[in-house]
Symmetry: D2
Subunit: 334 residues, 4 copies
């Protein structure tokens, strides 16, 4: 049976541990955290798993076949690198790493050694995004025109990264999962109201065709919003992740362009308004799917939808966004 080791028992780690522990196709064999109190708490709940403060010891443990890394971003690369080098499969919390260079190195390593490298882009595994992907794949939206996402709330200010690296990976992982093409360029503008890191940022991306994408991420908003508009030539979607039900609304709305407008003044376009529908969504815990998909990838070689390359695509956009942020919105080509 697949032996799992989890490094990092902070905010997200305990969720990953709980899910792996509940899946019968694998065994939680080791957990690791630098903080003795956290580690102790986890150990009491999962006494069968070896507890250690030494990540490299966990990686080296022959009982551990696969390692889940739930640590601060800047440690993703060294830990994943060590794990791959030790021949272990790797599941990394988002974002994959903090630079394109290191992300590429991990992708290459995993490829070379035939190991699974998966990023925990959790939203991609949720019922809402999977349904939207299905709707897009069926061609219901027509040509994609825009992708507009708002992810704001009060807190949690991070000490080591800015709001772009903290919140935007969610939206970028959703976007890159739904849209196969890569943007042509990225532009980002932000503001640092407290401390050293931007707590508010706007990220704009243009594609080769008419598609435009835009993100608003903000740690300092009085209300919590997680809302995405996706405009298509045939239909449009409003995805509100905080809605208690009916998170995805599909509007049969659009416009018809009038090529010949010579005779009329304003009738450039005609409007089309039909029904709206809210598809029923699968409510399985997304993280549970992440873990199961990871096991399937390791055991049966099924490529996960958020493999290393998917992780790299997100890191590439983040890095470009970061460069643009520093230059106050200058376009960064991809």
């Amino acid at each position: 049976m697949l032996g799992i080791g989890v490094i990092g028992c902070g905010y997200w780690g305990p969720n990953v541990i709980r899910n792996f522990a509940s899946i019968e196709e694998c065994e939680l064999r080791a957990v690791c955290d630098l903080d003795p109190e956290r580690l102790g708490g986890i150990h009491r709940r999962y006494p069968a798993a070896r507890a250690t403060a030494d990540a490299l010891a966990l990686i080296a443990d022959p009982a551990v076949d696969a390692v889940a890394i739930c640590t601060p971003i800047h440690t993703h690369f060294p830990l994943a690198h060590a794990a791959l080098e030790a021949g272990k499969h790797v599941l990394v919390e988002k974002p994959l790493t903090d630079s394109v260079e290191t992300a590429e190195a991990l992708v290459e390593m995993a490829e070379d050694r035939g190991l699974t490298l998966q990023v925990d882009h959790t939203f991609v595994y949720g019922g809402a995004v999977r349904k939207i992907r299905e709707i897009i794949d069926e061609g219901q939206l027509g040509d994609l025109l825009y992708f507009d996402s708002v992810r704001v709330n009060l807190g949690l200010f991070q000490s080591n990264v800015n709001v772009l690296w903290d919140l935007a990976p969610h939206d970028l992982s959703i976007m890159t999962h739904l849209i196969d093409r890569q943007p042509r360029w990225v532009s980002a503008i932000g503001s640092t109201h407290y401390g050293k890191h931007e707590n508010l940022a706007y990220l704009t991306m243009k594609f080769d065709d008419m598609l435009i994408a835009h993100l608003h991420v903000n740690w300092l908003a009085p209300v919590k919003l997680r809302s995405t508009l996706i405009g298509g030539s045939q239909r449009m979607i409003v995805y509100d992740d905080l809605a208690p039900s009916e998170k995805v609304l599909v509007y049969d709305k659009g416009i018809t362009h009038n090529a010949d407008v010579s005779s009329r003044n304003r009738a450039l376009v005609d409007y089309r308004v039909g029904d709206m529908y809210a598809p029923h969504l699968d409510n399985t815990e997304p993280l549970n799917r992440v873990c199961r998909v990871f096991i399937d990838a390791v055991e049966r070689g099924i490529r996960p939808p958020t493999d290393g390359l998917a992780g790299l695509r997100v890191v590439r956009l983040l890095e470009a966004g970061q460069q643009s942020l520093r230059k106050n919105g200058e376009q960064i080509a991809l």
Copy 2:
């Protein structure tokens, strides 16, 4: 009694006519439109006002002391210019004109001749924006950190202007009314999905201090949104103009910056969460106030809050935004 002439009986003109006609301190004496059907319809409802298709004749009419201009944007300047030259007071629909040069010319002309020049920035006269201004003036928000506005819906595609010139004047008039300072630079990125003009645009503005402002305007959204977040160091506001009541919510939320974070990892800031309140708002029709303020300006020399200079400030931001749009988001200094 002040004699009013109204040029333009399209979308907005009839509302202006109805309001002036209902105010006892003035008299609606003339109306003008090129379309005989529209003009006829208005004439039947207001038979006492002279109806003409000739705007210059209306302006020249000695019974007309003041002219309201509710015509397409590119005609604002020639009509307002002619009216001021004829010694008439002028109320212009937003935006004042389609260029800084012409806007400045009108401001100067009005100043030189001692005539009232007022722009119909309607939202500035509504209960919501007036209350927000009051809250800011009282210092309730502390330092302003950001202004984020979303104004999207399906339609109406305009044939002569893009979405920036069509929708952003509303948000910019609100912003410039609430914030006395001028942004240092403007950046705008948009997309033209149909026809020749942008139907979606993002406008970002940075100020000399930490303040950042951002607008999202969109003619192609499946839902109608008019929502503004205003972040302050002490309190924050959510203003939803479509809320049936409680349009303005004031959140006693914020963060306290910890200067010394040496010993702690993430506690960069402390969060403060108190009560929220929704002030009772005056429900008077904003356009009625616009008209009354205009009459007071003409009759008693009281400077309206949206005088020519206020109109010029908005046009300056639009023109800079337009330049940036053409250059794909390049910063335009002000």
Copy 3:
């Protein structure tokens, strides 16, 4: 051409006048109100219509073929009676009259004389209720299980009627339009917090089958709610008349009854949850349809959906509800 006279220029009358005036198939020929100021205001806007303070003179006017009655409830019967006696077709504001006896008399008179008698149950003519009727007629809901309506807000306290006669006619006209059967009995409980009339009431109705209907009407609520739940064995509807769009939501939800539950403890039923959809609704002003249907009824003998009998059904429920109110909820059989 059909000549229309309108009696009553208070709250609703001006809307009726505006609509008849805008329809080309008829002519507004006379208006009537006891209040000289109101009457004068209407006369200035519609100078072609004869203005009078004498309702009987309007009824007797040979230019008037049909009379719309928009006056307080207790005057509906005498005015409609006089109009029918004078051979005029009649459109009455809801409710038809203030008693079953008088309502029956009007129905009979209109029938005997071959005149149109229509009640202005406005909601029945709106896009939302018409669509719900269509959905029910198609059998989408399956068996109807319950009809639950909430219509509350602050004000307007009426001096002559209680909240039941003021607000419940709306819900009862919707209910009787959607449900062909008559309830078996009615029970109502209310409260009189100020003055002499109930300002809050709950009305419950039971039908011969499993169907139950319930109304909550309240003049003293801090928020405005107009919301109806309709439960069916196959689908269920949430109808929120205040929603800016998507007023009608159809949920593909329900339960499947397990006949044999011997072996299981709680699995009495299985739940079925599918998609939700919001049908596109016609946005025509309902009152305009009311007027057009009235004209068609008069001119072409097409029976309106809210004829005298429909009006009588609502009055019968109101009268029974009123009796029950007085007896603190005692069942009143129908």
Copy 4:
């Protein structure tokens, strides 16, 4: 240290167990369930607590000082009775018992033996209800006029009780906590669409003064609603327990009664509309407070807000409601 035993590991029991286990002032010493699988699951997570299928053995266990009963309603009395007889303090899930007679017997037993008897009316311990109580105690609402509660959703159909006994205890426990007086009479009407028990019920209660209370409970609604309106002569409250934040809204709205309305027609009342505010609420898990209050009651003799008498008040209303239900809404005096 106080030794706790918990009987019932079904839906609610595990939450009670988790909370007692996390509190340092007590020790979870025994757990009980008839289902070996459930019991085993709990035992693995809490190996220090003795696991048994025999409730009486748990009660008799000398290590157990206090017993929490989280079993189906009809077992509350025999188990609580046995526990009190054995000299153990008792915390019972809501409702206290299934009849006034048995509830009274428990209250008396606890009183006689000086033992703590507390009912787990969880909502009473939540931030929202505690704040509303505070607001009422401060007199902010003025005289209470009405209490209107809606608690509807799809499922869970219970096999042994109807929707009144399942859902109404929540609203009744809130109501009796906020309103000290007892209603004069109760009336209830319901409907049984599937199986043997009512799945929809309306419960109305009248008090000696103007106060009226009304509950709508429904297992067969397409949407989940938990919403309470509380009308006062000075202010009114909307409490929406499903709101992600700002669950309690306090409206400074009301009417002023005009004693002398001789000269005016409709101006029976004047309306007063002021600000709305949403007090910040304590977010502690209510069940954690329930447990801590229980410990304080046992250890320090502090009377809990939901003691046996509070439980009895709720049962009295349920029993009266049940009688009325059977008689189709007949008034049951209290």
